[in-house]
Symmetry: C2
Subunit: 157 residues, 2 copies
């Protein structure tokens, strides 16, 4: 079976250092593109978008912690066992994060964001502008534990 190899396009160079579950919306982060491969042209027009999707590698996940079966989200005994692909836990077979963030500014090769749940040092695999048309089509249904889990994810109460 063939593996897939990617070069990071950049890194998270500023933001939160500590891996935490909650309170990401207020975090201000900076992503810097790899200056060896990209110029400011790669970001031309990005500021016309309010939101940016960041695809990043969760480099602090320890391989021995990765789950490939089922577990309770955050090991919370009140929540049901869910398959690793039925939850968004970081300790997953390919620890790739995908987050829609608020774009604040573009300065050369640096992108200032809020609401990125990636710690400093995370390699960035891709950046895509968010389009209104990408929102889920049809009504969203999710189990009750999700709302509880996400209660403080963005803004801590």
């Amino acid at each position: 079976m063939e593996s897939l190899t990617f070069m990071p396009i950049g890194w998270v160079v500023s933001g939160r250092h500590e891996v935490r579950d909650d309170g990401w919306e207020q975090v201000e982060s900076v992503i810097e593109l790899d200056a060896g491969r990209f110029g400011p042209e790669a970001l031309l027009g990005l500021e016309e978008f309010s939101h940016l999707e960041v695809i990043f590698f969760m480099h602090r996940v320890r391989p021995e912690k990765i789950h490939s079966g089922a577990r309770r989200p955050r090991n919370n005994p009140a929540w049901p066992r869910m398959g690793i692909f039925a939850q968004r836990a970081k300790n997953r077979p390919n620890p790739i994060g995908t987050t829609v963030c608020r774009l604040r500014a573009v300065e050369g090769l640096r992108i200032r964001l809020t609401g990125l749940d990636a710690v400093v040092g995370s390699p960035v695999l891709d950046l895509k502008p968010w389009f209104r048309e990408l929102a889920p089509r049809g009504e969203i249904r999710q189990p009750a534990w999700v709302e509880e889990l996400m209660k403080n994810y963005w803004v801590e109460s």
Copy 2:
């Protein structure tokens, strides 16, 4: 600089074969997990979600076609030049797709979906349930060409 290597967790085994720009919502696809590494437990509870985010490799992108600067989306002369990270063109430095799809059924290691814009054979890097709380926070702003580009993306008129 360090590259990142991932093993696919599965593949798109049924759906559209032809790489096309538009009309993805009606496409029915099947993703099958790698049976050598995963059991049905990996998908436990997934059916409680209506929508699933699929992270996949666009394996049909030809390396010589990849852009790393700016170009007009779909080479349309009516649209402005945009940096490769200010558009979602497939010919990008790391051709990784991220799409929120409609989950139809889970059958053992097979997941039936609609609205996945990945052709048959695409390696799947990750699957994550979509949470209502992941929608962009704050008002969405995007340039006018996006609405035109997306007009027939899901349903062809």
